[in-house]
Amino acid sequence: MKLEATGKSGIWQKFGPLLALVLLFIVITVLNPSFMEPNNILNLLRQTSINALIAFGMTFIILTGGIDLSVGSILALSSALMAGMMVSGLDPILAILVGILLGAIMGVINGILVSKGKMAPFIVTLATMTIFRGLTLVYTDGKPITGIGDSVMFQMLGRGYFLGVPVPAVVMIIAFMILWFLLHKTSFGRKTYAIGGNERASRISGIKVDRVKVAIYGLAGTMAAIAGAILTSRLNSAQPTAGQSYEMDAIAAVVLGGTSLSGGKGRLFGTLVGVLIIGTLNNGMNLLGVSSFYQQVVKGAVILIAVLLDRKKS
């Protein structure tokens, strides 16, 4: 009896979100056929890339049973630092790499506070969210940083195309492939699931739980900073309020993708689907001329329905 139940939920977990995405595609296309035009699909992919990068990192954290509210602020702070470095004449590529490294360090700080400090991830990242945002405002003096030069390489990152595909979408796909491999094929990924499934048993099995957690929060910081680099390039500036409430979209995508907030269960592919569902909702409703106020209502309702379906099966 038990076996049957897990089998069923496995199928839902794997294909439920995907089915929802396909349905969404069909409905929107029927209502407005221009949705399916190649240009719009590419546009959709570009729009989702930033949320996707953040949500990929968030997936690892949520799999351990944690949460990261600070990713939006990490995005903003690393974006501001990158822009600042470029304005002061640093090579754009170097500025981006240093910015990403700083984002990783911010994540590592989260990880150390969570694991060594033994504090709840929600509280830790709520605090660092405020701190990193505050630092962004201090650094930018509350004003956008502009005039970051005209390096083609840098502009490509947010606005360019590679073989006809927007570069942000390419970055998203590459990141997905690397992180999918990391999560599902390496011992690091196995440890991520183990910690979320049973932290005490993992510790006693000799897993360096603290170290893995620090690495995972560092990874989430890195992903947020990469998203920050893309956003900076697209806007050709760093905004002090960039990335606000991005953590919520990322968490929503992870949950939509079937990952359990209590950890241990979920897949990266699900998150990709979750990101695409949110992106498709945004894009589709814009095409259909739904007011942005109503869009929020719909998005919230979709999350509720998804979680409800997820509960029903168990």
């Binding site: 009896m1 897990t6 011992s187 196995r190 699931y193 048993a201 006693i204 099995s205």
Partner: protein, 493 residues
């Protein structure tokens, strides 16, 4: 109350769990229900208490055919089921726990604390127990929590109380207390169904015994008319060799030498040495500090002072990772909380402490892991449909074998086993004992903590007895008796 369950059948999907079970219960008797894991005991009791409905068969209560629609109805009819996992709200007080879900309130919904206290006092008096009402349940011992459950059952005027492995986590003193309470209850006409794997207890307290095997009743007998061997034989359905396989001690050099291990308030100045191929049993009452010593030795908890030497080299163990690196392995007393990742497959669980060898470059070689898991499954006779089965779906005995399998893979020098056969049926126990012999033959040293004295005496080459955080004495296999161990464990000589 008199109950007759007649020819009960029950299947879950394809899985036939009960196939013609007969069970009867007289007023005021203690009736033992025995059988290996998966024999159908729990399902039968779940049917009696209204959680499941039988597919076929009848239940008669006081001669009248009855069926319960749900557990609420069964409760109203006087049935209570005290499960192994106690139904206790740890943050709530004793009083709040007693009245949970059936608080006494006035017309405005305000709690009538005074009346509840009076009622609770009454019940405690009949049970002859005393517990402060405002104590939070998490600070009560397991024995006390069990008393809360019994009191709760009595408050619903239960006439039948079913207890599933009630003594699994109790100290000997608490067991005595429980038995006293049970005797008191039967005098009042309450019937008790007692599910346990512990033979000694069953013969001490029960009036009749029903043995189940593979979903059928094998036999019901008065306890005076049967004996230990007969019961075991009926449970496993074959002549069982002795409960413990014979073992020859061929201890080699000292592998692990612990000196002066101290964690203030829990244990002090522990000296302990194990030789290659030796089994050292660690006995003592629950709460004496046995488990705490093992946890500290493995780096789960910190020590205040002490020295650990492995194969002549002084080592520092601050966390489990260190212990694993130095060749220790730890099978904890609670496999679900600390031994296994329940959502993982058998393969993934076995692989967990061995990731270094299966993923030297960081990429898991699933095929190697799979081969190893399959080999272990075969060698340890784990009953599972495949290595990919989620471990949570296996029975307790098979889960325990997987815990052992995962540590064997690390080729440990010293294997620490805390209550290695708790909650496991007789057949699986024997297999685990045989496995221990096999491991010691290969030179692995084993430290076995156990609350079951026959197991300690049957399997250990040497026995250490812990009393209130200190080692009270050491006994050799030849001189050990249950009486001598108990005397040391309780602080006598």
């Amino acid at each position: 109350m008199q109950i007759k369950m007649h020819n009960i059948y029950k299947a879950f999907g394809q899985n036939k769990v009960l196939e013609g079970v007969h069970f009867s219960l007289e007023a005021g008797e203690v009736h033992a229900l025995m059988g290996e894991n998966g024999a159908g005991k729990s399902t039968l009791m779940n049917i009696l208490t209204g959680l499941h409905k039988q597919d076929q068969g009848t239940i008669e209560i006081n001669g009248k055919e009855t069926s319960f629609r749900d557990s609420k109805e069964a409760e109203e009819a006087g049935m209570a089921f005290i499960r192994q996992e106690l139904n206790i709200w740890p943050e709530m007080t004793v009083l709040e726990n007693l009245f949970i879900g059936r608080e006494m309130v006035n017309a405005f919904g305000v709690l009538k604390t005074k009346q509840m206290k009076a009622r609770a006092k009454e019940i405690f008096k009949t049970l002859n127990i005393s517990l402060p009402f405002d104590k939070e349940a998490e600070f009560c011992s397991v024995g006390e929590q069990q008393m809360i459950e019994i009191a709760k059952a009595l408050m619903t005027d239960a006439e039948v109380i079913i207890m599933d492995e009630p003594t699994a986590a109790l100290t000997d003193r608490e067991i005595e207390k429980l038995f006293e309470v049970m005797k008191g209850l039967t005098k009042k006409g309450v019937s008790l169904v007692y599910i346990s794997h512990r033979m000694e207890e069953i013969f001490a307290i029960c009036d009749r015994i029903t043995v189940m095997r593979d979903g059928k009743t094998v036999d019901t007998k008065r306890i005076a008319e049967t004996n230990f061997d007969e019961v075991v034989q009926k449970m496993v359905g074959r002549e069982l060799e002795d409960r413990f396989p014979s073992r020859e001690s061929n201890a080699g050099d000292i592998v692990l030498d612990v000196k002066g291990l101290t964690r203030k308030g829990l244990f002090e100045d522990i000296h302990l040495a194990v030789r290659q191929g030796e089994i050292v049993g660690v006995a003592g009452l629950m709460g004496a500090g046995r488990t705490e010593i093992m946890r500290a030795l493995f780096g789960v908890d910190q020590i205040d002072s002490g020295e650990i030497t492995i194969e002549g080299k002084k080592v520092s163990i601050r966390k489990p990772t260190d212990a694993v690196r130095h060749g220790l392995a730890f099978i904890t007393e609670n496999r679900k909380e600390e031994g296994l990742i329940l959502d993982f497959s058998v393969r993934e669980n076995i692989g967990l402490p061995n990731l270094k060898s299966f993923a030297p470059s960081g990429i898991v070689k699933t095929e190697d892991e799979m081969n190893f898991a399959e080999m272990m499954i075969k060698r340890l006779h784990v009953k599972t449909s495949s290595a990919e089965t989620v471990i949570g779906n296996l029975s307790g005995g098979n889960q325990q074998k997987v815990v052992i399998a995962k540590w064997i893979g690390t080729s440990p020098k010293v294997l620490i086993m805390d209550e290695p056969t708790r909650g496991i049926d007789v057949g699986a126990k024997r297999e685990i004992y045989e496995l221990m012999n096999e491991l010691t033959e290969r030179g692995i040293a084993i430290i076995m903590v156990s609350s079951e004295l026959p197991e300690i005496i049957g399997m250990s080459d040497r026995i250490l007895v812990v009393h209130e955080g200190e080692i009270a004495g050491e006994l050799l296999k030849q001189e050990a008796t249950q009486e001598k161990i108990m005397a040391l464990a309780t602080g006598g000589n």
